[in-house]
Subunit: 488 residues, 4 copies
């Protein structure tokens, strides 16, 4: 079933508990900080359900139509289709939604491609976890849900032994009780991007746990509106006062990030996928293609943003009359090379795909290389474009109200227009540029691109672990051997 | 005379015309976008007038006490005193006021150290310009004025010939009429930082003019409240809703930038310093120590901000429990090296001072090298600290209202505190960090540091022009000669 | 016909004129500066002719077997086969031969895929140039030739008008006479890499010519041994004293670079492809897939070297006992990411291939992006590995003769061995490392990687020209339009 | 006493044991690998003894004249004099001698400024070490000695516990016996730069030792010609075949690096300064100004090289006709800024000097910042200049013998000259450029600049340790406090 925007909006009007500072938000679809973004997610669902996009955005199985990002890929063509769907979603949001609905869905589809991994425990209960994963996957795609995840412990709480040494309970989420019906959770997880707008949230652990962290090692799915669950949203970037003309992106695409606090939250067993298994709780992402699939979506998303950034760079250079300057042209050529590099790595992931049982997945090395590339280059790219921008954004009036003022609009047009552009066009361009590159929304993205997969050492470790070191080192050995062989 | 904050505030309540978008601001000292900053400037005047700071902040000449930044330096010790005064002002604002009152004052003091430069023209009127400069300098220091300057043509209007080829008047400011009393000005200048809060503004040309730009080549001083003069402020970053706890810097230190539009503004001759002399209009900054003195102030200002940034980096690393990690420690060591590098260049400017007639000035090569260093390193330094910050800022609640909420404050303290810091302390630290590194205020600073002396090619040209190329190239010649000398 | 190494060596023993300083080299296959490299090229021909490599290294057409790099690709599979052949050749030389025989052959195959381009001139003679190209292509592949090219004017001579203003003939090569049999050439071209070892050389122009440079605009093929043609080799890096144990790479893989001077060299018309057509002489590389095909080979070659570099980095880290240090591991992960990024761009070139008439070619944007990536990253990668190397190379004895010295070899083993490696193993590793990263051979490669396609602004211009700017800019326009649309 | 070059050469003809591979060098002043460099050191002594340089290069104390680098500074002027002397020596060698005679002499002078540090041990013997230091300092300056040092354990041997766990003696140097006359040493130290040409060598420990490394913790001075001491030189870069015209720098300035192996070397007590005190052996460099003084010399030396590099960059740009290109000019301006930045940090070290008892020393923070700056920027600067060089070096004939060839010299002049430079001039420039930037000598310098004070994390740790963190962090605390103060 492909749900519509209307269905989506109705379902998240479910009494969830969301805080903005000390303000309790009643209905996220109506609160000025969230309403525009909620409508935007709804529009995305409508786009996906649009019959004209049928082949691009969905597939059929057992007579039912599902969002394409639930497709378990069996061929290179399946991978190409998945990428095209991710791209359509990413283009819709210009790559500004890190955790659009296809992200966690891709991750979970990856988990469901190797459900036997979940049965690795020894208890009778563990034996059922494979079935829980398979069943949840079916419900997830059938109900066409939007899921977030919260899979990190809170910063500062990452050394539980320190807390214990002071007789304090570490704040990180854990199972505090269990019975026949399920588990009870208490504690905090970070940083549930998009959770304010999602149906449910996956709780889990992307960082390795210590063997002693048995009770932290729970992976499960929880509806946002579950009693006892509270989202503590960070400062909203799309406030009431923001109109779209002056803030064309931040007024719409703030997905928000939230700390998520559990106070005696009950989760039934059928929603539990890992329990009391610290090693497995993290390794489900390594031993299934889940991490490859969710991060391939991230690659495609970043690509959409990169194209926007580069288009913006060119428009700015033209607006400033700098487009013909050799140094500016070289910068634009370099930006174009960066976009092509990134695009090449994405297409290369199809060409270099790998098999896993009956399924295939994208080339993991090229995918992690693309993650690393985004991590290393997003901030420098933005900085290059800010440099092209010069004082452009600060030359513009405080807001677009001048365009409506009969007296000022004429003066503005007279002084701010150039030979090629009206003053209004220039203002709109620079308002967009500032929203993308200079606003708090821009800087939240700057942090996001630095950390969405983890800090740089984690990203490089993924690259390290997946490299064929024996092959590389063998090249050295071969030369040494040949150079020191006895001559005949 | 050292004026007080009260005097300052009263004087700028003078009926000036300031626009925020289409809103006409009545009194800048009371408007929510500007009031806090105006009070901050007043506090700076009070600090300067404080008898306890007498020796640090002022000097005496002919029985009158003046702000120290008006001192024409004759010895190394004078230079050291000037630097100490700049530093006190910069520390007051943590380096966040690019154009604090000592900036243009230093520039004008530099002009007044070589007033004969202004007499270079051939008309009878030109002969009087030296006296205009000397007289204005005396009035400037006697009234202890705060001046801004606007010495760039508007972006996009830098090729006047293009406008003319289309029969359009280029928008840049020029003299449109002159008579016995003075000149009449029409047109636009950018980007008058601080002008909203200043007493007067210097109009001039820091970029070379074409020989044909005779009417643009005017340098003069104009009171902000002059009829026909309008400041078009860019978007204010310190709005009504901003409280100081959540925005400790941007709520106070937004100096604002304005486009300045002249509509038949009349300027009497005694306020005109250059007229109808395109070459001179720019070269007053080269042929006097004005540029060295204003930019030395910029060096000292940047240094204050650098110390704050580095202190913040260390605090963040501690708050995140990352201070002992070798890679983090190396980052902190590198930041410390950068601060010391910058400090060394500033102290070196005294040791390597140069003479100019009876006066001395700081070493210009080390000063321009420091400008270039700031230009190249400010953004990377901020990026390094943002990386140390991780998701810290987004883990914090939307605002500090949670601290006042009886129910939430307990939960917050329980979950967000670490073993070393209360939750409130952590929140305050990250609110400050975000205000300095992630807010729009931060990003306005990012642009400011990129361009306050000009784009990188201009800054590098100052460095190129001041280098002793003959000495450097001679080293190569010497080696070639010696290596190819006939052997005895 | 696939020629053997023996055939190859015999054919280049042809009386060619090669200078090393003022020394006239008689037989390049026997001179100590060139002999080892000549044998290495011969071994490459033997490898290619090896029946076991038949499918990898050759293809059949009209009953004859040709080197695979002459294949005109019609399908993605053809592209994949070409890449595999390039890779086998690149692996043979560890990517250290920039202009291995498949380079110019690929370029010429590209020219021959669009021979009509050459008929664009208006004279009867021009009409035959298409046939010249097709015929030469057939001879080229039939005789399995090794060609070099020299397609740049000498540095310093790039402004012919300056020479003319001083009544001096610019030194660059041009046609000085023509008759029914052909043209006569005089002048100099740079920088004929590999020409000392090649059968023939292509003369041409990769940089745009001025319309007045009619006589310089000649493209033709000339045998190296043609009377009047002299190769002025740069300093050889593989001298007599170099043994392979101490210099495992430079003793074998110095392809040399030469200035090529023509003194009344006669070239018959059937070897001329462009004549008196400044625009076309350069554009043959743009209007055919020649540039895409030769530079795809360069991509594959660089990739081979990158794998060697990364293998070396890992071996060095282990040898120095630094492999487990987190910062070193992060460096290795980053290097692995860079290799994967490059590999992804190469595989992406197949996935994103484009059509050209009946033929296909690799995706040009990803190819040029890979060129830019190599240009930007080769030197930093080498620098990273040199940093890993520490003082390793300088701790080693001057040469491997210590291993043969009965007294010293024991001391050496006792003091220089580590727990994991014998002293001899460590010495061999560091001798290789130094040869690849610290020798003059290494630094010639450093320059080569900076300039083999042209300086950075040229490479970025290729990237600029091939980018879909309209598509990128359209993204900006779309957002501006939507944000400013009247709300219903 | 200021010794002459002749005295110097005679004294080092002392029967020392030096190995080049398996070759035993008889007399270093006559061996082709070392003779030219030995003459160059002799010329440096003659320069220093030149009466015309008396005030620049020496000072008088108790009626005797000493090299100025033995002066214990008591005033800023003394510091300025020391810097001037270092600069004269550095200019003599263009900064290409890392360990010129003033280096270790400055270090030891620093030790001798706080001799009480050495008396910290508790045994009667330790009580005499202060006197040993003072006495040796007097002999050192009286005999005007040239000392090297070897203060690092061999790479790979830095974890002695690993060796011990395998019942192997770690190869690092240690005391193996002691009696009334002195100690007996066995083992290896690295990397005694300049030792081949020095009179004596200091053995010590610049890296912290483990408390268990009691026997390694010896600091003493040993004449190079002591029986049992062998220098294992790394590959010489100034071989017999190298003439000065083609290799103007490497033919003269290869100071060499050596591993130094001790086989039952006896050292009398009066030459021992630290014994059986692991903590002290390293801390003598921290608790005295020794490290500040030796590294200030390194700063001044690097500065000389930087000026040469920048002069070369300008000459190359001119020779290639690229000097007027805006991007090249910006590069030159940036290089000039870097030189000025470095110069400013050096002058700032005087202005910011600090006291230590009766003595003063340069500002340590600016000194370490300069070390870090050199470490970070040397390789990028060289890379920038290599990029300016383009293919220049490879266009030149193999060697300068063409200039003597009657036939070739005319052709060479005709084709290789430009309008501004003869071919011979161009060749000489590019031979120098290649020797400085592309030769093995260049790359040995590349490694040297990366490691002469230690790897980057060590250099940053010196910067970390010397930074006033309390002051920096206090700035943050002040803002937080003020922003959260109750409003009146």
């Amino acid at each position: 079933m492909l749900r519509t925007g209307k269905d989506y909006l109705e379902r998240i009007r479910d009494g969830r508990t969301v805080l903005i500072g000390s303000e309790r938000v009643g209905d996220v679809t109506r609160h000025p900080a969230f309403a525009a973004a909620a409508r935007m997610y709804a529009a995305l669902y409508d786009l996906k359900a649009d019959p004209a996009k049928r082949d691009l955005m969905s597939f059929e199985e057992e007579g039912e139509r599902f969002s394409l990002y639930f497709l378990k890929p069996r061929t290179r063509d399946d991978l190409v289709r998945r990428t095209a769907c991710h791209r359509a979603i990413a283009d819709f949001s210009h790559g500004l939604l890190g955790r659009s609905p296809d992200h966690v869905a891709s991750s979970f589809t990856g988990l469901a491609m190797k459900p036997d991994v979940f049965a690795s425990g020894s208890t009778a209960r563990n034996q059922k976890f494979s079935a829980h994963v398979t069943d949840y996957y079916k419900r997830f795609r059938h109900e066409d849900l939007f899921l977030a995840y919260a899979i990190l412990p809170p910063q500062g709480a990452r050394s539980p032994e320190l807390y214990e040494s002071k007789d304090r309970q570490p704040p990180t989420l854990r199972v505090t009780k269990e019975d026949d019906r399920g588990v009870t959770l208490n504690g905090m997880k970070m940083l549930a991007t998009g959770a304010v707008f999602a149906d449910e949230v996956i709780i889990g652990n992307i960082l390795p746990l210590a063997p002693s962290q048995v009770k932290e090692s729970v992976t499960c799915a929880v509806p946002i509106a579950t009693p006892g669950l509270t989202l503590w949203a960070r400062k909203p970037l799309s406030t009431a006062g923001r109109n779209r003309a002056d803030h064309p992106l931040s007024s719409v695409f703030d997905e928000t990030d939230s700390m998520i606090v559990f106070d005696d939250v009950k989760v039934p067993w059928e929603r539990v996928f890992v329990h009391d298994d610290p090693e497995l709780s993290r390794n489900i992402y390594i031993r299934t293609p889940a991490h490859f699939m969710s991060n391939h979506q991230s690659n495609v998303r970043f690509w959409a943003k990169l194209r926007l950034l580069i288009g913006l760079a060119s428009k700015i250079a033209k607006s400033n009359g700098a487009h013909a300057i050799p140094a500016v042209r070289e910068t634009l050529g370099r930006l174009a090379a960066m976009e092509a590099c990134y695009a090449g790595m994405i297409e290369g992931q199809h060409q270099g795909m790998q098999s896993l049982g009956d399924f295939v997945h994208v080339n993991p090395r090229y995918m992690y290389a693309a993650v690393n590339y985004a991590l290393e280059n997003h901030a420098p790219i933005c900085d290059m474009i800010r440099t092209l921008m010069g004082g452009g954004a600060f030359q513009m009036p405080a807001d677009s109200s001048v365009l409506q003022d009969p007296e000022l609009s004429g003066i503005f047009e007279n002084y701010w227009s150039t030979l090629d552009q009206t003053a209004a066009e220039r203002m709109r361009l620079f308002k967009l540029a500032w929203d993308l590159l200079g606003s708090e929304f821009a800087m939240r993205h700057d942090q996001y691109e630095k950390f969405y997969v983890g800090p740089s050492f984690v990203v490089r470790n993924y690259n390290f672990m997946n490299a064929p070191w024996g092959e590389f080192e063998g090249l050295v050995d071969g030369i040494v051997e040949e150079a020191n062989a006895p001559r005949s």
